[in-house]
């Protein structure tokens, strides 16, 4: 792979390269930088909510802007690019091709991210990450809102280009000796999530344009005063963003499919079941979008249809969990940092999934909708599952990317603190939601239960913050001064696998 240890290169050689490992490195560094930035915003929010009344944020508008940018950053600028990062590293190697199918397109897709990130961060919009009209049309202050719309537009194009590249690389550039059925599950993860992206994201791209022209007053798609319907936007939005949940989670599951067999010293329990579950999820994932909208006044019929569609997506996820546990069964597991994250990830994946089943039961929406229950629920997915899988994979890839070993002890401390913090924050948020605290509020009345739970949540959030500071320190220190890794077997597991560093970078 990059192996800067053996042969350092000037930074611009990496920046202007189109080689897949170089683009992967750029993706990785950018996404991790945005992860720390978005996480820092979360800490500011938790500081504000530590107690009723004003703590550190002067006014509610600033608070609203911060949670909007927090969500947008972590979904679009951390999770999506970090998945692309490892896809760039591994997909060409897994399909045994010299590079991605379109290297220049690949670099273009990456270089759309920094300007989009700049638009989002310099604008600092306030209308939440889903920008519902009519608030976003008639009430959200510009130019922040318009900058957000343009930023998201660019990111949408970027992820579609990236997905096309993955699909073509896998379908057209795969080595002829390697049938699809034998392709590693991580490559399958990229194939399915890219297919979902290509089908789902254009809808939102269209909705964004309509939103923009609505804001300019040129049209009234979502503005009832001009004969439009705000609920139409929600349908368009969630038609993209419920499948988007699967776009985000499938690569993380793919990472776990890489980590579990590796450290259990045993092949995956059932390759076929993993493939089936990916494809099933990709199909059924499109049948559930409106479960986000039960409270918008949907009819009993609509609710029933979307509840059934939501429940239908659960068996696929359950098959992955089974596959992971069955892979560990009978293995000889070396608990290095990556598999600790993966095991923690499936435990939280189950909790998030169980919460999701409960959410899909339509009468419970009267209790949980837009309360902190929902915040806890989806954070268990995006943090508990996706971030845990991704961070585990960052540790797994660290020696291959840098040629050095991360600090194992601090990696484990990072995991334990993060796990404890995640449980403290997001499980408590579920309960807080049952006590009726709405999400996205800057201040809350001093109801004793709310205050107590908010204190617990804030403390948990700071524990996560400390663990992430440790992570950052570990990354920086180890990539510069860490022990040189044994590149044939950095984790001391024995055995042969395809090794990512075998990719030939022309610059080396």
């Amino acid at each position: 792979m990059v192996l800067e240890l053996h042969k350092p290169r000037p930074i611009w050689q990496i920046m202007f390269s189109t080689h897949h490992t170089d683009v992967g490195l750029l993706y990785l560094i950018t996404s991790l930088a945005f992860m720390f930035m978005g996480g820092a915003l979360a800490l500011v929010l938790r500081l504000e909510l530590f107690a009723p009344g004003t703590q550190v944020i002067a006014d509610s508008m600033t608070y609203n802007r911060i949670f909007t940018v927090h969500g947008t950053t972590l979904i679009f600028l951390f999770i999506l690019p970090s998945a692309s990062a490892f896809g760039n590293y591994l997909v060409p190697i897994m399909v045994r091709y010299k590079d991605m199918a379109y290297p220049k397109l690949n670099a273009i897709a990456f270089w759309m991210i920094p300007p989009a990130g700049a638009l989002i961060w310099l604008g600092f919009a306030d209308f939440t990450w889903y920008a519902y009209p009519t608030y976003s049309v008639i009430s959200a202050p510009g130019p922040a809102a318009d900058m957000w719309i343009f930023g998201l537009k660019i990111l949408g194009v970027s992820s579609i280009l990236g997905s096309i590249n993955f699909i073509v690389t896998i379908m057209k550039c795969k080595h002829p000796d390697l049938p699809l059925s034998k392709m590693p599950l991580l490559a399958w993860a990229y194939l399915t999530s890219s297919l979902i992206t290509v089908v789902a994201v254009p809808t939102f791209a269209a909705a964004l344009l309509m939103l923009l022209t609505d804001r300019l007053g040129a049209s009234g798609f979502f503005n009832p005063v001009m004969g439009g319907d705000p609920i139409a936007y929600q349908h368009l939005f969630w038609f993209t963003f419920h499948p988007e949940v699967y776009i985000l989670v499938i690569p993380a599951i793919g990472f776990m499919y890489e980590i579990f067999p590796r450290f259990s010293r045993k092949p995956i329990f059932s390759h076929g079941s993993g493939v089936t579950a990916f494809v099933l999820l990709a199909l059924v994932g499109f049948a559930s979008w409106a479960h986000h909208m039960y409270a918008t006044g949907m009819s009993f019929t609509e609710k029933t249809v979307f509840m059934v569609g939501t429940l239908a997506a659960v068996p696929a996820s359950a098959m992955h969990t089974f596959n992971f546990l069955a892979t560990m069964w009978g293995g000889r597991i070396k608990f290095a940092t990556p598999i600790m994250w993966a095991v923690g990830g499936i435990a939280l994946f189950f909790s998030a999934g169980a919460g999701g089943v409960v959410n899909s039961a339509m009468p419970l929406d009267f209790i949980t909708h837009d309360s902190y229950w929902v915040v806890g629920h989806f954070h268990l997915f995006v943090m508990g599952t996706i971030l845990f899988g991704t961070v585990g994979f960052v540790y797994y890839m660290f020696p291959y990317v840098t040629g050095r070993m991360y600090n194992e002890m601090w990696g484990k401390v990072h995991f334990i603190l993060s796990f404890v913090g995640t449980v403290m924050v997001f499980f408590t948020q579920h309960i807080l939601g049952l006590f009726g605290m709405p999400r996205r509020i800057y201040d809350y009345p001093p109801i004793p239960e709310w205050v107590q739970m908010n204190i617990i949540i804030s403390i948990g959030a700071f524990i996560i913050g400390i663990s992430m500071a440790i992570f950052l320190g570990n990354l920086i220190y180890s990539s510069a001064k860490g022990k040189p890794a044994d590149m044939n077997d950095p984790f001391g597991l024995g055995g042969k696998y395809y090794y990512p560093y075998q990719a030939k970078n022309p610059h080396h």
């Binding site: 069964w329 597991i333 009468p363």
Partner: protein, 87 residues
């Protein structure tokens, strides 16, 4: 055989269609006074019983797997794939 399958499918459809019709069209007739708190929270607690039961099984399974198949467990033995060195 084909005829039996065909007949089964037709009969199955005849069963399923009215059920779907009923399931989707419910909620039209006027109802009686009831305490929605009792109904909804009751549903919530029933589902929590299911969720926590399954959760206990799953997390118990994970903990057991982690303890039993860890490298440092006295009973740990090399997997059959380790000798060949490929997995």
């Amino acid at each position: 055989m084909k005829a039996i399958i065909g007949l089964g499918m037709v009969l199955g459809l005849l069963m399923i269609l009215p059920a779907i019709q009923y399931a989707l069209a419910a909620g039209d007739e006027p109802g009686e006074y009831l305490d929605r708190r009792v109904e909804i929270w009751g549903l919530f607690y029933r589902l929590m019983i299911v969720a926590f039961t399954v959760g206990t099984v799953v997390s118990g399974m994970i903990v057991w797997l982690v303890l039993r198949f860890r490298e440092s467990n006295p009973k740990a033995k090399p997997t059959e794939y380790e000798e060949a060195g490929t997995w």
